[in-house]
Amino acid sequence: MPTDTHEFIDSLVDDLQPSRPLTLQRGFVVAAGSAALTVGVMALLVGFRPDLISGNLNPVFLLATGLFLILGIAASFTVIGMGRPQVGNIHVGWTWAAAMAALLPLTAAVLSLARDGDVFVQSQPAQGVSCLINGGLLGLIVGGALTMWLRRGAPTSPEQAGLLTGIAAGSLGIFSYSLHCPFDDIFHIGLWHSLAVVVSAMAGRLVVPALIRW
């Protein structure tokens, strides 16, 4: 780095390239586009569950899928905002969506206390692992898009940005895979679908900060 500030400024000016600002509209396109692509890839690879097409839907499925979608949207928009720093920004809105989504594993845990029989078996572990893996893999589309956004942006808290990228990726990944998964049981959703979000959040927290460059 040149020691003389004027010389330093001149070198920055020489290096200037036109750049498209990271506007909110562009952020929405990135978030919505990657989420739509995730659903499209799921539909192409494994297809929608039959009752989704017939319209005869289970209430637990609707509630759970809706909660993951809301959490995914809230986390995505928070990440979009974190790429555009400004003193006065507040990044807490997603916590309410996370609290709502946490009702799913909490409900499963409460019901398991009063339930006779093996709740773990009832959660369909074989299918559950498949949901965990496929939901996580689908989430890579959203996770990749948001990470690219953060690399271009200037997140002042890379660790939190990484965590939220993971939450957004996991939530929208499992939301997409829920449109295929035929199980509506609260123990299956509360354990395996929620676990996909938790694992993705941990991965995001560990991996994404290292990919952000200042």
Partner: protein, 174 residues
């Protein structure tokens, strides 16, 4: 005289289109603004380096500024990030003089007061703020700081560690 927010926002919008003349003017204004912003919150002889670090971050992150928003809160967020990063790296400074010419004055616009570094310090517990000020900003040793503020040496270290960690979480806090 430093340009106002509207002028700097206009210059930045032009810079994003590749206008080098506007960019040169903007960087010169930012350099003056940053020197004032960092005054009394970093050892005097390190200000130029920190200002250059911040200008380099600004340069790399030009796209993260949205012309629809005010400019100075964006610049302040980057400056605060760089400042906290700098405090984490600096273990001991050997000079404690400040340039009084950059001291903040009462006529400072409200927006600058809201985004200032003093504002960040105000959110810290007094013991943590004092420990950081003495060691990271004034350049005292841990032993000297301990003597000056009456905290044990280990408590000074703990307060610095906790304070810097907390500062890093409130860079965008108003």
């Amino acid at each position: 005289m430093i340009a106002d927010d509207a002028t700097m926002a206009r210059l930045m919008a032009l810079s994003q289109t590749g206008d080098r003349q506007a960019y040169a003017t903007l960087l010169a204004e930012c350099q003056k603004w940053l020197k004032r912003f960092y005054a009394r919150r970093i050892v005097q002889h390190q200000i130029d380096d920190l200002v250059q670090d911040t200008l380099l971050s600004l340069h790399r992150k030009v796209a993260s500024y949205d012309p629809a928003r005010p400019f100075l809160p964006w610049l302040a967020a980057i400056a605060r990030y760089r400042w906290v990063d700098h405090l984490r790296k600096v273990y001991k400074a050997d000079e404690t003089t400040f340039d009084e010419g950059f001291a903040s004055d009462d006529s400072e616009p409200a927006i600058v007061a809201r985004i200032s570094l003093d504002r960040m310090f105000s959110y810290l517990p007094p013991a943590q703020a004092r420990a950081i000020e003495l060691v990271k900003i004034e350049g005292l040793t841990i032993a000297e700081a301990s003597h000056a503020c009456g905290q044990s040496e280990s408590l000074v270290k703990v307060n610095i560690h906790r304070g810097l960690k907390k500062l890093a979480t409130m860079i965008e806090k108003d």
